[in-house]
């Protein structure tokens, strides 16, 4: 269908578009208005959050959630910051997500090297196995992991969560990198082999530099995904000393201490790192997505 459209019509360009543009002069503004309205609806909850994070509890209870704050109240923010010991939670989240991102990429790279470049026997089944592991519900793993972690003394340590997510994320990374490496130019590998480079040297001197953009994207994905994970940290990290930001926020919920402004302040502080990280790296991400699409 698509194919027949192109060649027949390509030569006759000039007259019709004028009529066409005229035709749509008004409707395009209607479309724009509708999409903008949709986008505003998407942003409303963020606006509510901002508006109420800087309100005093008495202001909230007397004037309600929609009114403008009567004063610039920051005690809610400070209460949350100190009650939750937010800097510690931030550190825990960063430590866990950062370690998982680096280790997960390293494991994915080694796995994918054997599967995509080494083309070991049965690689399709192995890649499929890794892919399924990434799709498994975490409930299917959690109780044995919880039990064993308790037995070996890893329960309530960040290390337990780091190990678990390194494997879960690298399951996806292996799948992605193996398909990328499957199309790696053979001539480059052969040239390196002729120069007497061993497999280890080829991996680090030839394959790694070429895949750096893809690896960067993978690193960012692993970081964000791990940062946002909930079930496994909720089960594994019970202590104020070890909890991550989402777990800390969720365990405060329902607590008497959390009045509406503090809830909003907590949510606001909790999403700032994620948004900052996204803003800093969105160009890398966009580049990576385009690179992936071309493959």
């Amino acid at each position: 269908m698509v194919v027949t459209l192109t060649p027949s019509s390509a030569p006759v360009a000039p007259p019709k578009p004028v009529r066409d543009r005229h035709h749509r002069g008004v409707s395009r503004w209607v479309v724009l208005a509708l999409v903008v309205l949709g986008a505003l609806i998407m942003l409303v909850p963020f606006a509510f959050m901002l508006l109420n994070a800087f309100k005093s509890p008495s202001d909230y209870s007397s004037a309600g959630p929609l009114s403008w704050p009567t004063e610039f109240y920051t005690k809610g923010l400070r209460t949350y910051w100190t009650e939750v010991n937010f800097p510690l939670k931030l550190w825990n989240s960063a430590l866990i997500a950062g370690s998982v991102a680096v280790l997960g990429v390293a494991v994915s790279l080694l796995n994918a090297y054997a599967l995509g470049i080494g083309r070991v026997r049965g690689r399709l089944w192995i890649v499929g196995l890794f892919l399924l592991a990434n799709m498994l519900p975490q409930e299917a793993l959690i109780y044995p992991l919880y039990y064993v972690a308790k037995q070996v003394g890893l329960y309530n340590t960040q290390l337990s969560v780091i190990i678990i997510f390194t494997v879960i994320q690298s399951a996806f990374g292996t799948y992605l990198l193996a398909s990328v490496m499957g199309t790696f130019p053979r001539s480059l590998l052969e040239a390196a082999a002729l120069d007497g480079a061993g497999k280890w040297t080829v991996l680090w001197r030839v394959v790694f530099p070429n895949l750096r953009p893809t690896l960067a994207v993978l690193l960012i994905f692993f970081f964000i995904w791990t940062w946002n994970e909930f079930l496994i940290p909720l089960v594994m990290l019970i202590d104020n000393q070890t909890q991550t930001i989402p777990v800390a926020l969720a365990s405060l919920q329902g607590d008497r201490l959390m009045d509406a402004p503090t809830t909003n302040a907590g949510a606001l502080i909790s999403l700032v790192p994620a948004i900052l990280f996204f803003l800093i790296f969105q160009r890398t991400l966009a580049r990576g997505i385009t690179a992936g699409a071309e493959k």
Binding site: F48, F230, N264
Partner: protein, 322 residues
């Protein structure tokens, strides 16, 4: 399965292979097994063994202390007659609507409009800014989204105040506290959370499409609906498969938002298998029963994934055939 294969094949790699060309090639490949070794060991420890453990525990009765008692298929038998279990799967169907069907359809429409109308009739920056607005909920931790929405939908929350403000105060409601409205409210939140993902993926996919296709169609007098059906949909079919598969699996596994919004309540109106399993493991301390729930959920996900991947492969083969 892959375990024994990995270990067996890692062995010969240690002895240097003798040079007959065919053998040398195989020997070289065998050496790559060494690179798979760390990943394989970790995989067995963190995924393989616990999975087998859960499967075993699903055939036992166990509170987490002492020794598990073998009961065969009793847990599964009990599941068949458990109303909560069935309710949780009924709710999953609704979560599929909220997390797969609506976001994929809306996302297709939005991406096409943003790309084909707004991106080409207005400045590209306009389309990019709008795309960012739709994507923003995807950036924040889903638990944070759950907590903010939980507050918005509370009896004294922002949504009810908004209804008051526009003169619809009669509709004031405890949206998440009433069994009749809790599920639709959770679904609305999930649509809000999910919508940005297909929009961004589909827009990236559309950038790949040759703009001449659209221009030519326009010259031919094809209106927007024609172009959408004849160009946009077929061109981004691979991405549609990926989005539908990943969203389906996310919907089957959904946990964080349910935990943050309703904890499965009221009266199991929003319970899902994932939360039901968590609750059975850690609140009711019925490890065997929880394992049976997890095992059923795992089976469903594996079957869905395999069917999806098979369908995708078939559609790709058909495309190449044309």
């Amino acid at each position: 399965m892959a375990v024994s294969e990995t270990l067996a094949a890692a062995q010969p790699a240690a002895t240097p292979p003798q040079p007959s060309p065919g053998r040398r090639r195989r020997g070289r490949n065998a050496a790559y097994w060494l690179y798979l070794l760390p990943g394989a060991v970790l995989f067995i420890l963190v995924i393989g063994a616990p999975l087998v453990g859960t499967l075993y525990l699903s055939l036992t009765k166990w509170s987490g202390i002492g020794d598990p008692r073998w009961v065969g298929l009793d847990n599964y038998q009990q599941l068949l007659h458990d109303d909560v279990f069935w309710a949780s799967f009924r709710n999953t169907v609704w979560m599929l609507v909220a997390m797969v069907v609506v976001p994929t359809l809306l996302g297709l429409l939005l991406a096409a409009v943003l790309f084909d109308v707004i991106g080409r009739r207005f400045k590209p920056r306009t389309a990019a800014a709008l795309r960012a607005a739709f994507y923003l909920p995807q950036v924040l931790p889903v638990v944070v989204a759950g907590i903010v929405w939980g507050w918005i939908l509370r009896p004294d929350g922002a949504f009810n105040s908004l209804l008051d403000a526009v003169g619809l105060g009669a509709l004031r409601h405890d949206w998440l506290g009433d069994p009749d409205t809790a599920l639709p409210a959770v679904m609305a939140v999930m649509i809000w959370v999910q919508i940005g993902y297909p929009v961004v993926v589909f827009m990236a996919a559309l950038q790949r499409v040759d703009p001449e296709l659209y221009e030519a169609a326009e010259v031919d007098g094809a209106n927007w609906v024609h172009r959408f059906r004849a160009i946009t949909l077929p061109q981004i079919r691979p991405e549609t498969f990926v989005v539908a598969l990943t969203c389906t699996i996310a919907a089957l596994k959904v946990f964080g938002p349910i935990f943050a919004l309703t904890r499965g309540g009221p009266e199991n109106a929003t319970n899902v298998p994932s939360y039901f399993a968590y609750y059975t493991f850690f609140k009711k301390l019925q490890v065997g029963y929880g394992s049976a729930i997890s095992t059923v959920l795992t089976l469903i996900i594996v079957v869905v994934a395999v069917v999806f991947i098979w369908m995708q492969a078939r559609s790709e083969r058909r495309d190449r055939g044309i």
